[in-house]
Symmetry: none
Subunit: 224 residues, 4 copies
DNA sequence: TAGTAAGCGAGACGGTACGTCTAGTCTTCTG
DNA sequence: CAGAAGACTAGACGTACCGTCTCGCTTACTA
């Protein structure tokens, strides 16, 4: 039924979809979340409001779709040869993604909105968060194969650890950019990676020995 | 000038300030950020809209002040005897603070808005973030005195490290609650603290040895 | 262009127009000009404020249109058989029109406002004043045909005289009702008509011969 | 009691009264009735709102007092030697009074407001209207002494006639200026005076003999 | 000459209405 | 039927004045 349902009448314009999502991103950059209005988006896209509402039920869902596309474009987990380099790369990429004017703000706003809306939360998670989380899991798996991380027996435990790591990585980047309002530059990425890999007790001194450290994935922790 | 200004005319009612901030918190709990209207806040506070606008220029600024008070009430850095216990306590407290219905969502929304508003960002930082950050620095200093962390020579380096740690701790809690939408319970707090203290390379296996770990501040890292 | 304009989109609801004008008249009667609010009118009409503002830019314009309809309903210049009777009828009708609670006050207020607003003045004139003035001209023409008034050669002179007569008739009624706050009853109508037709020098004594006068359209002027 | 009541305390500033009334007139000219605000008047007068409200209960009363002064300045009934000249002079003076930007508009608005306010109507009448009416009565008395008008026996009848004449004269001037929005120039004043004195039946043709007419107080009526 | 009762400026207060804006829906005509 | 155009209901927005109030200060009469 689903494929045969839309046989009759004028077909929906794919052009319109593209124009709307593009206009949404442009408007987000210019106006920010709060001042973004659907009427304005429709006008920018050269589309009637009706058309817009036929496809998206609300501002939130529209924005989720609009920024999801941007996130997707930047999804890749290249193998850099070591856990340290892989983490650093993920941090940098996540940072540059959230640094873009249309993504960071919008994501925050959508998430804030999603606190009261279970459906929206799911949509955000499946469209954006989970796909990023996969990167972390892929990287961890590679590290295990390289012997940099121990194998984990308990699958439930493993999933819990993956979540913890993702919360830590993504949260730190988010906080750095959104709240501290500082850039995620290479130095910060390196420092954070050191902290994540070797911990506070080990990394604190590691940061001081700045120069040669980055390559040293084997740096002995517990150097207190 | 500041003290001598405002000498003339009827003085502003301190009672009104209190009523407004209280009403704002109540409305946040009941309605959430999105449905919060200044008119409603004024009505709840038994105050004219004018009075509210005289003091706060926008919904954002009002909410920042309203939730800043909540954050302030929960500010304390009790000495739990070890770095591990101190970190865990901070995580738990930060979590329970952001889990409250009036704070988490509101904070996120305000921060999203602050992306376009430098003044608002400053206000958020000085009213909320920086005061929390102090907790981290106090805890770190105590850990140094206990010998759990090395002394740092370079003050600039030290400040950078403090920022990094705060971004990591606060970011992880924020992400866990807001985006993963999972609770910050004691187990997560312990797991995260392990990760923070001993790093991915050390802590990953540590989490498996769940039971007796918390006391084990001396847990050997480098267990890969 | 004018007819081809507005081809597209949903047409304005004629029902709404009627409801709004009716509600305006009702509100004028109940509340008077000063307490009339557009929000209240919209509510009475069961219409959103936006709909009201789409059509009328201000309270004044709305009220002009609302009372113009009332004036229109009462426009007619029946032939009473003599100039005297015609004038009396016009005076009575104009009086009863301005005595109505929704018209008199509102008209005065609108006119007061029109002193600073050329566009409004035109609107008042075309919607209300000029249509009343036609009555005077029709009556005058009839009187000429009857031979009660001399034929006028100069058309410009004729127009000037029509204006003068209208100013005198309408002004007297207006002043009697609005400023002297006395009713326009049959006796006053007769006295005024005598004055208008025969002048101060003739009518003054005429008024004294009160009883039999009304029928006496042939009363000799110059009876001083 | 009344004179002894205000014995104690600081006396009210006469300067403030003058400043307020002056500011009111100025604001009326600039802004018109509708946009005139008491706060603005107070500011222009360099006076606190309290001071203003201590003296006048409302915008209307303030404006009545403010323009009454202007009317008073122009009150005089010089003897021009004939009824015709006297009427013409009154018409011209009344016209030039109402033509002033601050008086005409304000008077209309106040009168409109007075429709709902008996006390205000009395105030207007005693402060403005009745004093003008006296001019008419004085003129009529002079005309009787000159023999231009017959003596009237019945005092009640006489009063009624005075009212009628005043309504006609003032009403025509008012209507000409406020509603027709035409100036009260010498020609109109002469035409109107002709109409008033000789009536429609006599004056209509009189206007045609434009040139030398004004002096012709002896023009035979009944010229139809 | 000290009180004291009012006047005064300044400006905050509770209200009411304003006119504008946006959300989301509905109605019409055109392609 | 989809789409554009735009009118529609509903309701929050932030502003402007209203008329009242609360201050601290000034001014003149009175005891």
């Amino acid at each position: 039924m689903s494929p045969s349902a839309r046989r009759t009448g004028r077909p929906r314009s794919a052009e319109a979809d593209r124009a709307i999502l593009g206009a949404t991103r442009a408007a987000l950059v210019e106006l920010g979340w709060a001042k973004l209005t659907l009427g304005d988006v429709a006008a920018r896209a050269g589309v009637a409001k009706t058309t817009l509402y036929r496809r998206w039920a609300s501002k939130c869902e529209l924005v989720v779709d609009a920024i999801a596309a941007v996130f997707d474009e930047h999804l890749e987990a290249t193998d850099r040869g070591s856990l340290h380099a892989d983490v650093e790369a993920v941090v940098i990429r996540l940072g540059s993604l959230l640094e873009r004017p249309e993504t960071g703000t919008a994501l925050m706003a959508v998430i804030a909105e999603a606190m009261h809306d279970e459906a929206l939360r799911c949509r955000v998670r499946s469209a954006i968060v989970d796909r990023q989380k996969r990167l972390v899991m892929v990287g961890r798996e590679r590290a295990r194969l390289r012997g940099e991380l121990p194998r984990e027996e308990d699958p439930e435990e493993s999933a819990r650890n993956a979540d913890l790591i993702f919360d830590t990585v993504a949260g730190a980047v988010l906080h750095r950019l959104m709240i501290s309002a500082e850039p995620v530059d290479p130095r910060w990425a390196r420092d954070f990676t050191d902290l994540l890999l070797y911990g506070l007790t080990g990394a604190d001194s590691g940061g001081a020995a700045a120069g040669p450290a980055p390559d040293g994935a084997q740096k002995p922790a517990g150097s207190v």
